[in-house]
Amino acid sequence: MPKRPKSPESDHPKVKGGPEESGRKQAGLGRRDFVKLVGGTGVAVTAGVLTKEALLPAESNAQAAAGRRGIGPGPVNITLRVNGEDKDVAVEPRVTLLDVLRDRLHLTGAKKVCDRGTCGACTVIVSGKAIYSCTMLAIDAANSSADILTIEGLAPEGQLHAVSAAFVDNDAQQCGFCTPGFVMACKAYLDAQPNPTYEQVKAALGGNLCRCGTYVGVRKAVLDAAMRMKGGRS
């Protein structure tokens, strides 16, 4: 069965793969680091294994972690910088950024669909990069340098960001459940590639899936949004 091709131009999070493609290294703990930390696969993560210090810099290792004050599995106090504001929440270390945004901070624009880093409905922008928030632990995002932008932060309530407006005008949405993810992926894509060609747009946003079949509208919307963003109409 053919795989969905990934566009080389696409500025998409490849979070579902290994740490090499996750783009998360600077933000926290990669999968490989995590495996090293807990001493190989198949080892249960229990209280005391993860330390707060270990969670922040990627160079942490099991030796450094040993003997330090542990965190979890109970709630941990963290501060997330979301849409320009600091938010204090107490979450278990296993909770994803998506679940914290939705269940604790009531920011439900990012949708929970596959919950496994495939569909892109949960896309938010962390420090300028589109990521699947279902594959990032909240504690990984609890880093003062991690600036989290959700769709609610794109424009004040009642106003439309240029990308959102382009999605409306080009009917790039039907049920709309994938749309916030597409809008955020589009925003990150256009920030990195402000002048896409139609050929590039045909494959851009390859990390987001739509069930209603709005891709024709999405392609038009991306081009339209690029023009609007350049025209300062956002």
């Binding site: 624009g109 390859g206 739509c210 069930r211």
Partner: protein, 698 residues
């Protein structure tokens, strides 16, 4: 008797134009709250314990450990010991806890003992299915034996469609909240007016005690009509805990149980004369719709071949419950028929467009529509220039082929009630217990109301998605646009007539001499004699006008809505497909969809429906399959990494052409949800074969 007919083409200010969907801004800004987003004060989260076995008897259930888990507030047994499990993923116990994580932890502590029983999860040929094969009675028309004897050419082949799922992006589920004996349900449903009754039955409370709210919903495609076991369990948890509970299906559960489309496979034989006249059809078909038998599929599709013999066998399996999937049965029957007919054309050495046109009379009353659509589609895909007999002789590993498919669907209108209020301040509300699945229902209602009342679109407030509004049908079978269009047209016409009757004396004319145009009430032919809409409404004093309109029929032949809606559309699609004969990768390069649907209310959302249908068709033709493991009886790909949907880069060029204007408009409104998804899936497999045959086997 009021005249409800649609305005003539020259007098339409909104109908048929390209209008952006009204809920677009709240969706694309992420502000609108879907069921999955509902957050009630003190709300708990529900999770379920699922059977790992495809067929089993529940021997015992122990929930004591789960009840003691942190944060757990309620536990509900959904299937008692002694009951039988019929598919892996069937729900056994539900728990509600303070957080999703706690609910999931608690669910893991429930201990269920099963007695495992033999299962079957593959749609094997009937001969291998033992007593799970349920043959239906043979059906014959004409004299198939004689026709095959006399046929100058016959062709045989086996074609089919696997089981696929709905994979709605918003999972099934609901939030429930009690106030005394009254229940509010936020449900992701296609059936706002009807689902409450199912909750009431399951909970043994009066139907009037249930209120359903669905302002928006994230896709249904036929799978979201009922309360479902998890809906009732969610309300039971909320009752036990005395707190609101939200329970949405996790993605694996969604893909395992929340909707499958039956498979159909067929061994087909077709007979014809050398000139391309099709004379005989025989098919031995089988497929699985889970544990149900269903009826005999209506093969052959669209073409009423005069001599037929058909045998169908249902194979009972433990794949999970079947649900209506956009255009139930049509995509499977379309693929089987079109593939067989194209094989026939290839054997005859005839261009399939030519062969389809030669036999177009067999399509019945839509034959003229199909002929026009075939011509248009051929022009748009450049059939004359691109078509070649099977076997692409071009050098290289990429082989191309063209495909063709015809489809049909009924439509009509479901029962629908609309209430229209004109307030003394000039504001207008139209209210229906309907729902917008993303099809544009809300927008269509607003367009019709505004058109009827001579007002701009934004002057009309559309109230849908609440069962407290007047009853309107569930959204299935492309019946919604017909149902709500007729009821809205009638309600708004009735309301306007009341207003005109009140204005007529002061303008010194009869009611029927007045019209509502451009935000004014004025005398026909004398626009200066009149007043603004606001001035007119101000004369109502303190009493608003409340009028209703009804679509009370479900068939187009009923007398009461024939002036506004009808049913029965055609549709032709053609595609160019490329196959890499070294890797086997199939690419859709271009797809042309030519579609009629009577009078189009909103051209923009109508075209989007067709684009969407085509893409969904490409998805199931090339990417989707619910893969079952015969050893464990479980679904092997209950996640979106391995249950494949097409991504944006998988879709080639799509061209949509709507048949509209004279000859189509006067048929009235006809639904468009199902038709475009039918042919798209039939456009590829035979094309692949065509490309691989002969020239392809390099």
């Amino acid at each position: 008797m009021a005249d409800y007919r649609w305005p003539e083409a020259g007098k339409r200010s909104l109908i048929g134009k390209r209008i952006s969907r009204l809920d677009g801004p709240v969706k694309s800004s992420g502000r609108v709250k879907y069921t999955y987003d509902v957050d009630r004060p003190n709300m708990l989260y529900g999770k379920m314990v699922l059977s790992p076995y495809a067929q089993a008897t529940i021997k015992s259930i122990d929930t004591t450990a789960a009840e003691k888990m942190p944060g757990v507030k309620a536990v509900q047994v959904m299937r008692e010991p002694g009951t039988e499990i019929l598919w892996a993923g069937q729900e056994v116990v539900a728990v509600a806890a303070e957080t999703e994580e706690q609910a999931r932890d608690a669910a893991r502590r429930v201990v269920v003992n099963y007695e495992k029983l033999p299962h079957l999860v593959r749609d094997v040929e009937p001969a291998k299915a033992g007593d799970r094969a349920k043959p239906a009675a043979e059906q014959t028309e004409g004299d198939p034996d004689k026709a095959f004897q006399e046929a100058e050419v016959t062709v045989e082949g086996q074609y089919g469609c696997s089981v696929i799922t709905h994979c709605c992006l918003e999972a099934h589920g609901q939030a429930t909240e009690w106030e005394g004996d009254n229940l509010t349900v936020w449900a992701s449903t296609q059936n706002v007016s009807g689902i409450g009754g199912e909750f009431a039955t399951g909970l043994k409370i009066p139907a009037g005690n249930v209120r359903t709210l669905t302002p928006v919903m994230g896709g249904g495609f036929g799978s979201k009509f009922g309360a479902d076991t998890w809906g009732v369990a969610c309300a039971q948890l909320a009752k036990k805990a005395g707190r609101p509970v939200k329970m949405m299906l996790e993605r694996d559960h969604e893909l395992m149980v929340a909707g499958a489309r039956p498979s159909i496979h067929a061994k087909v034989r077709v007979g014809a004369q050398k000139d391309g006249t099709i004379t005989a059809w025989s098919s031995e078909s089988w497929g699985t719709g889970g544990m149900g038998t269903g009826g005999s599929p209506r093969l052959p599709y669209v073409f009423r071949i005069p001599n037929q013999r058909k045998r169908h066998t249902a194979v009972l399996t433990n794949i999970g419950p079947v649900r209506a999937w956009r255009a139930p049965n049509h995509p499977q029957l379309c693929l089987i028929t079109m593939a067989a007919l194209e094989d026939l054309a290839a054997k005859l050495g005839i261009d399939p467009v030519e062969m389809f046109l030669k036999n177009i009379g067999m399509t019945g009353e839509l034959s003229k529509v199909y002929a026009a659509e075939l011509q248009k589609a051929a022009e748009l895909i450049e059939w004359q220039k691109k078509w070649h007999p099977r076997g692409d002789k071009a050098p290289g590993v990429i082989k191309r082929g063209l495909g063709i498919s015809l489809h049909t669907w009924g439509g009509g209108g479901h029962p629908s009630n609309c209430a229209c209020a004109i307030h003394p301040d000039g504001s207008v509300e139209v209210s229906l217990g309907s729902q917008d699945l993303g099809t544009g229902t809300r927008t269509v209602i607003a367009i019709i109301a505004a058109e009827t009342l001579g007002l701009p679109l934004e002057a009309v407030k559309v109230n849908i998605g609440d069962s407290h509004y007047p009853q309107s049908g569930g959204s299935g079978g492309s019946t919604t646009v017909g149902g709500v269009s007729a009821s809205t047209r009638r309600a708004t016409t009735n309301a306007l007539n009341e207003l005109l009757a009140k204005m007529a004396p002061s303008l010194g004319v009869e009611n029927d001499q007045l019209e509502a145009v451009g935000g004014r009430i004025q005398v026909k032919g004398n626009p200066s004699k009149g007043m603004s809409w606001k001035q007119a409404c101000a004369k109502l004093g303190t009493t608003p006008i409340n009028a209703t309109g009804q679509t009370s029929i479900t068939t187009p032949t009923g007398p009461s809505a024939r002036d506004l809606i009808s049913s029965g559309v055609g549709g032709v699609q053609m595609a160019e497909v490329a196959v890499d004969i070294e890797t086997g990768v199939v690419k859709l390069e271009k797809l042309v969809a030519v579609q009629d649907c009577g009078l189009i209310i909103d051209l923009k959302t109508a075209e989007s429906q067709v684009y969407g249908g085509c893409i969904m068709g490409v998805c199931y033709a090339l990417y989707e399959e619910k893969i079952m493991d015969e050893q464990t009886g479980r679904c092997l790909n209950p996640d979106m990494e391995f249950y494949k949907l097409a991504g944006i880069a998988d879709i080639g060029e799509l061209v949509v052409h709507m048949m509209t204007g004279p000859g189509y408009d006067e048929r009235g409104v006809i639904g468009l949800g199902e038709p475009p998804v039918i042919s798209s899936g039939a456009l590829t497999p035979d094309k692949v074969l065509a490309a691989l045959e002969k020239g392809g086997a390099a």
